[in-house]
């Protein structure tokens, strides 16, 4: 690799929707090459918005980047159209899977071949089917009728076709059964390890996210509030309480015991 810097560098960005609602306020983060970085935060904090800003899909939703800079592989993403970014190796797996429901599984993968500059993935679809044998079984069925987990596999499979340098993954565990969460995350870890693909992972399930990530950021209302290597964050008391649901002593806390009046997060006050 030529450039030594991080594959993705987000500096102080601000995002406004519909010219009225400011969602990001000076957010910065970086993804080193070949690493998995987790981005956590409560609902509506702006995690998905951050990813959309990076992949430039923001404009479609009437959002605009009003400040800061985003550099992918050393170049400002503002210089590229969304599809051009994809062809340069930045793939965004969107929230809610967003597979093409009335295309077959294989056609969904074909659609992703547009992400390859030459049009053909170097190993065809073999790589995808190797990671997700289940997709191979259902390759000619309509994607709309896949189960949630299979759809998520397909969404990640599309990313693999592109052979990207960086994958933005938005809540891959959303609505998946525990076993599938495990499976998907194992594969995510495997892809990162075997292909050397860097990932920026947005996740609600902090526990599994920590399991695959090297570094994590936690954001609230549009900015980063804590960040650090996963090892360190896992021992932060607030993170343990609010993201992992662990009591001070480390044991799990039952939902039945949740008080009506709870301690609020320190960084909000």
């Amino acid at each position: 690799m030529s450039a030594p810097g991080p594959i993705l560098d987000v500096a102080n960005i601000e995002v406004i929707y519909n010219r009225t609602v400011q969602v990001l306020r000076g957010l910065s983060l970086a993804v080193p090459r070949g690493q998995v970085v987790a981005l956590l935060g409560s609902n509506g904090a702006g995690k998905s918005t951050t990813l959309k800003a990076v992949s430039r899909l923001l404009e479609i939703e009437d959002g605009a980047l009003t400040g800061g800079a985003i550099r992918f592989d050393g170049q400002d993403v503002a210089a590229f159209a969304p599809h051009a970014l994809v062809r340069r190796g930045l793939f965004h797996v969107m929230e809610g899977r967003r597979i093409f429901e009335d295309l077959s599984v294989e056609e969904n993968l074909t659609a992703a071949t547009f992400a390859r500059p030459g049009g053909r993935p170097s190993r065809g679809f073999a790589l995808v089917y190797e990671y997700f044998p289940r997709l191979f079984e259902r390759r000619s069925g309509l994607a709309g009728y896949l189960s949630g987990g299979e759809q998520q596999m397909l969404a990640i499979g599309r990313a693999l076709i592109a052979e990207p340098q960086l994958i933005l993954l938005d809540e891959p565990s959303l609505g998946l059964s525990p076993i599938l969460v495990e499976e998907i995350f194992s594969i995510i870890a495997r892809i990162n390890r075997e292909q050397g693909t860097a990932m920026l992972l947005v996740e609600q399930n902090a526990a599994v996210a920590f399991a695959v990530s090297h570094y994590a950021y936690i954001m609230e209302t549009g900015k980063i509030v804590i960040d650090g290597p996963v090892e360190r964050l896992m021992h932060d008391a607030d993170v343990r309480e609010f993201y992992l649901g662990l009591g001070a002593a480390g044991q799990g806390r039952s939902f039945r015991d949740v008080k009506h009046y709870k301690r609020r997060k320190r960084w909000l006050s």
Partner: protein, 290 residues
């Protein structure tokens, strides 16, 4: 409402289905097919009045389809559904709603063009009498009824779910977690006797999940509403449900108290996996090392 002692599943009187009381909901031999695809096969289970029953199972097992059968959107080819002793299998969805079946949806289904308050009011629809003529004239019955339900909703639902500050906002502008809460509010406005929740905490972090858990428990305890819920968050299911039904490929593979179910080998194989993040991490790292 202050913190109350939460009854443990073990000592809840209606915790497990008992032969004596009429079950709130009784599903028997339900089968649903789409063309050649068997989505549900011979599903049977009861929901005890006043309990929280969780339906779990792998993706595509047919949980949402089961809900759709119960609320009448899908027509199962075989089987019966009885609600509080009455067979409702042939009723149209609105008729079921009128009998007290309310639900939320897996992919939030709020009405984007309405405010929070109107969305919630819509839940009262089935219990209102205003007809077209009343509505056009407005003065008289329609007005009386509108003001009546407004008062009831404000006092019972909006205060209860703490939605005061957003009642006049259009739902489109709300954050995800709040939308889920508005959906719950809309279902509660239907004065449900059975509340069906399809993945109420999906996409929520730990803290928000805790809030939702509290609301669910409060609904059960303060309103005495029976709850049937689909959820993948095993932490939540374990902690708050009284009874668990496990579906796999459209069939019930296990039933019972949460603790029993989680020990079931088949459930672990099909659904839970190791279920332990520490182990996952260890496995991933182990492989990395290898």
């Amino acid at each position: 409402m202050g913190p109350q002692p939460a009854p443990r599943p073990e000592d809840a009187p209606a915790g497990a289905p008992s032969a004596a009381a009429t079950p709130s909901l009784a599903v028997a031999g339900l089968s649903l097919r789409f063309g050649g695809l068997k989505v549900l096969t011979g599903v049977s289970f009861d929901v005890a009045p006043g309990s929280i029953t969780a339906v779990i199972g792998p993706n595509g097992a047919g949980k949402t389809s089961l809900f759709n059968c119960i609320s009448g959107f899908y027509r199962p080819q075989e089987g019966t559904i009885a609600f509080e002793g009455e067979a409702i299998g042939r009723l149209h969805p609105p008729a079921r709603a009128r009998r007290g079946l309310a639900r939320t949806f897996q992919n939030i289904a709020l009405f984007r063009g309405m405010t929070v308050l109107d969305n919630i009011k819509l839940g009262r629809h089935v219990h209102m009498r205003t007809n077209l003529l009343d509505a056009l004239v407005y003065w008289g019955r329609a007005r009386r009824e509108e003001i009546e339900i407004r008062a009831e909703i404000e006092e019972r639902v909006i205060d209860f779910l703490d939605l005061n500050h957003i009642r006049h906002q259009p739902v489109a502008s709300l954050a995800y977690g709040l939308r889920k809460r508005v959906e719950l509010a809309r279902a509660l406005a239907m004065r449900p006797r059975l509340l069906m929740l399809d993945e109420p905490v999906a996409g929520m972090n730990r803290e928000e999940t805790e809030d939702m858990a509290r609301f669910i428990l409060d609904v059960k305890e303060e309103w005495g509403t029976t709850i049937l819920m689909v959820e993948h968050d095993m932490g939540l299911v374990m902690d708050i449900s009284d009874h668990v039904v496990v579906l796999n490929f459209g069939q019930v593979i296990a039933r019972g108290r949460p603790a029993e179910v989680t020990r079931n080998e088949e459930v672990i194989r099909a659904y839970l996996g190791a279920g332990d993040v520490g182990a996952l991490r260890a496995r991933i790292e182990g492989r990395e090392a290898a």
